[in-house]
Symmetry: C2
Subunit: 245 residues, 2 copies
């Protein structure tokens, strides 16, 4: 794996090869020779907050796996407003589906908390999909799974109120089957959480404090009862807690 000084690259731990790729379900159980080729071609970047990884409609030459930090995917309307499509944590992949048509990125990607990401050539992914039937099926399954997550997001943006969306965001930060009390640190700028405006976020948090006895100190939140949070949040969702994704 190469390191690019111009991007302040991290030193990569070669005693754990493939570890980032194997965090992504898409690459689990893949042909080892394909993974090794990807690994060799991978370039580690360390990006600061606000760095733009790529812009919507840029030519897609790389896809990325997040080693640490958080990445925001967004689109801009003709009026110049920004719409957050997703905010991704470590272990997630992005840019990997922009392999068809004009091969342009379908959204922009920006760092919202200092991040280390590994860039892999999209041409290698495209080639493996076109020539390896088993991997092509894995990719199809991966994209279908992504579509299910988007259905859930459409559902949440339609039916959940702001406190429930914030509750859902908090639940995703907590490993499943923890009972509480639980202490959480908000992972990035709270004006971005759950795609809310800053005032909406403040009102939603105040409501959760009152209804569920949450304790808040700066960016730290203490949750007394997981059951209460789950009941409050997941009643306005078609999925049963814990979510599969």
């Amino acid at each position: 794996m190469k390191q690019v000084a111009s991007h302040k690259c991290s030193s990569h731990d070669h005693t754990q090869p493939l570890s980032e790729l194997l965090q992504v379900t898409l690459f689990q159980g893949c042909d080892p020779s394909f993974l090794q080729k990807l690994e060799v071609a991978g370039i580690t970047h360390r990006f600061s907050k606000n760095h733009v990884v790529f812009m919507q409609d840029d030519l897609c030459e790389w896809f990325y796996v997040i080693r640490s930090g958080w990445i925001k995917l967004f689109r801009q309307t003709l009026d110049g407003d920004e719409v957050i499509i997703d905010i991704l944590p470590a272990g997630k992949v992005f840019g990997e589906t922009d392999i068809f048509d004009n091969r342009l990125y379908s959204c922009s990607a920006e760092v919202v908390q200092d991040a280390e990401v590994i860039a892999y050539p999209i041409s290698m992914l495209r080639n493996e999909i076109a020539t390896n039937q088993a991997f092509s099926m894995k990719m199809l399954k991966h994209v279908v799974q992504g579509q299910r997550e988007k259905d859930k997001e459409i559902e949440h943006r339609t039916i959940q109120n702001a406190p429930q969306r914030l509750g859902c965001f908090l639940l995703r930060l907590i490993p499943a089957k923890k009972a509480g009390p639980i202490m959480l640190h908000l992972p990035y700028d709270k004006t971005l959480i759950a795609g809310m405006q800053s005032e909406t976020f403040s009102r939603a948090l105040a409501r959760l404090k009152e209804d569920l006895n949450l304790k808040v100190r700066g960016s730290t939140i203490e949750i007394e009862s997981m059951d209460a949070l789950i009941t409050y949040t997941c009643s306005a969702c078609s999925n049963v807690y814990p979510c599969e994704d």
Copy 2:
């Protein structure tokens, strides 16, 4: 193509074989022998409004192409609220991505305007994907395209106000590059349009009447200027009119 009396099937016009399948981009340019096998296995159903085609979590045994009418895809929250994921017109396919995992439908499907649909065995689709690399790529492209449309839906539900969402809905009913004035009939129950509540719809329509000089008589809407409607609606969208989908 078989016809099932219990579903009040239509007579099928055998002088135009494959016409429904070839309306769907996924099947254009496919192996003719695969299309013929699908065609022979297809069963035409004529369903009345409110008929439930399948329920979320039913075993997925069929996928469907819509010949006429409109089909609503929806999910239900644990609280029993219904969330509309999409409402599909003639020429669209549904149920075709539920081929993995437990092979259960990921949403429910209900007829919102009397419909004629053709059911094809999902096992034949699954088999073609698993054995035909070229078709597997077509399916992948189809699902990626579906994901882009969902990104746009997430964007719209986040940033467009109700009059803009109604405007977007109207624009989709009009063939591209028509200048206006244009006379439109709302295609189904207006309480379902653009996923809005009935009162929201009424307020949105009143706003469009005022701002864009729309004339409304029952379910018929006359649009004076397409340019005005496009400017009003598409400024709050990241896509340029006309949409590719």
